[in-house]
């Protein structure tokens, strides 16, 4: 058993090997995530090409302003996350805590807007397939299909946000207790990769779902 002061786990020879291994591991994990979302994006692309006008009609039922605002929120949270990684690498504990907190807060703003202002609203409007769907305008079937995609894709994305918030909370406690140093900041770096990935997924989701067809 290695002692708690050691920053290198027993299976590794040195810190460099450990660092490279966890980096590669995280990138591979992100590759699996791309394939996971990839199934949804493929299905979406096929139906969007088949039912162009239905998907445009449905897209116009979404609140593009809230979507745009949320995009800005997430991009800012990516900035604070990147700053948190830098603070960890340079061993600045207070800054690290501050940036982790701001990343978490921005994430929570996103989740609030998504859950309360958007999904709940869509549900009340009768746009939630399977739960409460009353839309009866043109292309009603294809609009429903679009909203299936909308809820699944943004739902899976939101799930990733929530998981990210949980891990951030753990890292925040660890940072509070001074567990990170210029020798050991790997978990923060890995979290950074994950958080940026979740942001990038949203960067793709926003135009695909909210910005179809001429609108403004």
């Amino acid at each position: 058993m290695h002692n708690s002061n050691s920053v290198v786990a027993e299976q590794f020879d040195d810190r460099i090997q450990q660092h490279e291994a966890s980096n590669l591991g995280m990138w591979i994990f992100l590759a699996t995530e791309i394939m996971f979302f990839g199934g949804l994006f493929t299905g979406y692309t096929i139906y969007r090409n088949l039912y162009t006008s239905g998907f445009e009609t449905a897209s116009h039922l979404l609140n593009a302003k809230l979507g745009a605002f949320n995009t800005a929120v997430l991009i800012c949270s990516s900035l604070t996350m990147a700053l948190a990684v830098h603070a960890a690498q340079t061993g600045k504990r207070k800054k690290l805590i501050a940036y982790l907190l701001s990343t978490m807060s921005l994430g929570l703003v996103f989740i609030y807007i998504k859950f309360i202002l958007e999904w709940h609203h869509d549900y009340l409007e009768g746009l939630a397939p399977g739960l409460h769907f009353t839309y009866a305008g043109p292309h009603a079937r294809h609009v429903e299909l679009f909203f299936c995609f909308y809820f699944v894709m943004t739902g899976v994305h939101a799930l990733h946000m929530i998981v990210g918030e949980g891990v951030l909370a753990v890292l925040l406690v660890m940072a509070w207790r001074g567990r990170f140093s210029t020798e050991k900041y790997n978990p923060i770096e890995m979290m950074g990769l994950y958080w940026h990935f979740v942001d990038i997924v949203w960067i793709f989701l926003f135009p695909l779902l909210y910005l179809l067809g001429a609108r403004f």
Binding site: A9, E10, Q11, F12, D13, Q17, E20, A21, L24, G25, I28, F29, A31, T32, E33, M35, F36, F37, G38, G39, L40, T42, G43, I46, Y47, L50, Y51, G54, P129, G130, L131, F133, R141, H142, E144, L145, C148, F149, V152, V156
Partner: protein
């Protein structure tokens, strides 16, 4: 470890099996060797379940009218057999058992890159497995292992959700294992162990891990979509909304066809090791075998449409998928030719592992060539969904994957347990399995060609004789599986001690004691030569 210490009797030396005792020391272990053994026990358990289902099916088919069960029960039996054997035996078989046990030792590492993640994979696997078993016990699933929509989403009244959830969860075990292996192979190799000095088993496991990583997430999301469609009765495969059930088939086979290569590639890796060891000859065409593994993994991702030639996909898509399916036969054939070239003028010994390897080559060749029949559009029209297909993929999965798995278990058993099994019994079992297997499945080629459809509990009387032959073969095959189960367990206690290298094989795993010490090597080995240098080894043995 000094060689003198390795020669000590097993009991008087600290190794991974006696370094710690008690159930907790197993359930909380992060030792890759112990985790490998935990997988070995788990998948043997699942194999027995899947085997019982197969036995009942074969018994039912003894009579044209069905001997034993109602057609509904029969549907559940073949679904359970497929789901358990594919997801809970074949896919984890070699990777999770032998891969876990051997990869760190073959590359001279103390453990995999992420040992705790490795243990987590086992728990995830068991959670998924037990959930699926619950589905079976609670009443079963009748969709087949393929979960085709709309049967699985709208019409089936069985426990589809529990089974799908079990497979979804177990999928994460595959993903984590694949991730762990790729990072381990990239970053943990001993000094001097360059890529082209790696054992071919490592190349095969690397290719397999790539499929785990890129394929498994796609079936995960497909099963999520099935779940949403079942729960909320709306979904993207629902034709009522303009959705397309064929899309599910595309997504399902995007994973499940590469999954076939997850089953066969590791076996090919094992066979590469066995052929060269028991021919006492350097492997022929090392680079070709290594790259053919990668080629199979890569092309394997582009052939899924050959499962859908009659599903309504466009004829042009069919043509392309047909051509690509032919292409994937090339790297497979490269391997077979290299193995036979290795055998040529080798000094071959017919130990039990070698019998499995030779059996593999023959059976895999039959399975592969009949795969070419099936990827021919016109022939597939005729034999699609008949017993011809069943026979074809059993030649790959049982004749190929299971033979390779058993060969590997027998080859590395002295390393795993530190003891030898009775060689005579092992050879007899290998031959019984070979005979039983062919007797079971060769008649099914003929049945399929004559037109007997798969997945039916009853059949016209003209197919009676061949079905009886097949069932007789299955009982021989079953006996063949029971024998190793008995003598391997027996040998753990009563077998004679094997010593570090009973086969006089090359490879780092044979340089350490059997069973290996907790961290595999007393000091990190340094590699200074090409793999499989049996020419040099032969001289050393003659001198000794």
């Amino acid at each position: 470890m000094s060689s003198a210490e390795a020669e000590l009797p097993i009991e008087s030396r600290v190794h991974y099996l006696n370094a710690d005792y008690g159930i907790k020391s197993w359930l909380l272990t992060t030792d890759h060797k112990r985790i490998g053994l935990m997988y070995l026990v788990s998948i043997t358990f699942f194999f027995c379940f899947g085997g019982v289902a197969a036995t009942l099916m074969r018994l039912n088919l003894l009579e044209p009218q069905g001997l034993l069960v109602e057609p509904e029960t029969y549907n559940k039996l073949f679904s359970m057999h497929g789901i358990i054997m594919v997801f809970f035996f074949l896919i984890p078989s070699i990777p999770a058992v032998l891969g876990n046990f051997l990869i760190p030792m073959m590359i001279g590492a103390r453990d995999v890159a992420f040992p705790r993640l490795n243990l987590l994979s086992w728990y995830v696997f068991m959670t998924g497995g037990l959930l699926t078993l619950y589905a079976v016990i609670a009443g079963g699933v009748d969709t087949g292992w393929t979960f085709y929509t709309p049967l699985s989403t709208q019409y089936s009244n069985t426990h589809v959700m529990a089974a799908a959830a079990g497979i979804f969860i177990a999928g994460f075990s595959s993903i984590l294992t694949g991730m762990n292996f790729v990072v381990t192979i990239h970053k943990m190799r001993a000094p001097g162990l360059s890529w082209f000095r790696l054992p071919l088993f490592i190349w095969a496991m690397y290719a397999t891990s790539i499929i785990f990583i890129l394929g498994t997430p796609v079936i995960a999301i497909s099963l999520v979509l099935i779940a949403l469609e079942r729960w909320f009765h709306v979904g993207i495969f629902d034709p009522a909304l303009g959705g397309d059930p064929i899309l599910f088939q595309h997504m399902f086979w995007f994973y499940s066809h590469p999954a076939v290569y997850v089953m066969i590639l590791p076996s090919m890796g094992v066979v590469s090791e066995l052929i060269t060891t028991f021919s006492r000859k350097k492997i022929f065409g090392y680079h070709f075998i290594a790259f053919s593994s990668i080629a199979i993994a890569a092309i394997g991702f582009l052939v899924w449409g050959h499962h859908m030639f009659v599903s309504g996909q466009s004829i042009y898509a069919g043509l392309v998928f047909s051509a690509l399916s032919f292409a994937v036969a090339i790297p497979s054939a490269v391997k077979v030719f290299n193995w036979t070239a290795t055998l040529y003028k080798g000094s071959i010994s017919y130990d039990a592992p070698m019998l499995y390897a030779l059996g593999f080559i023959g059976l895999f060749t039959i399975g592969g060539l009949t795969g070419l029949y099936l990827s021919t559009l016109a022939i597939d029209q005729h034999v699609h969904a008949t017993y011809f297909v069943v026979a074809h993929f059993h030649y790959i999965m049982v004749g190929g994957a299971v033979m390779g798995y058993l060969g590997g278990i027998h080859y590395w058993w002295p390393k795993i347990s530190g003891r030898m099994y009775p060689d005579g019994w092992a050879r007899v079992a290998a031959i019984i399995i070979f005979v039983g297997f062919n007797l079971t499945f060769f008649p099914q080629f003929i049945l399929g060609y004559l037109g007997m459809p798969r997945r039916y509990a009853v059949y016209p009387a003209e197919y009676h004789t061949l079905n009886v032959v097949s069932t007789a073969g299955a009982s021989i095959l079953g006996l063949g599986y029971v024998i190793p189960l008995i003598y391997l367990i027996w040998s753990m206690r009563y077998g004679r001690e094997a010593g570090p290298n009973p086969w006089h094989a090359t490879g780092l795993e044979w340089t350490t004691a059997s069973p290996p010490p907790p961290h595999n090597f007393e000091e990190t080995p340094v590699v200074t030569e090409e793999p499989y240098s049996y020419d040099r080894l032969a001289e050393e043995i003659q001198v000794a």
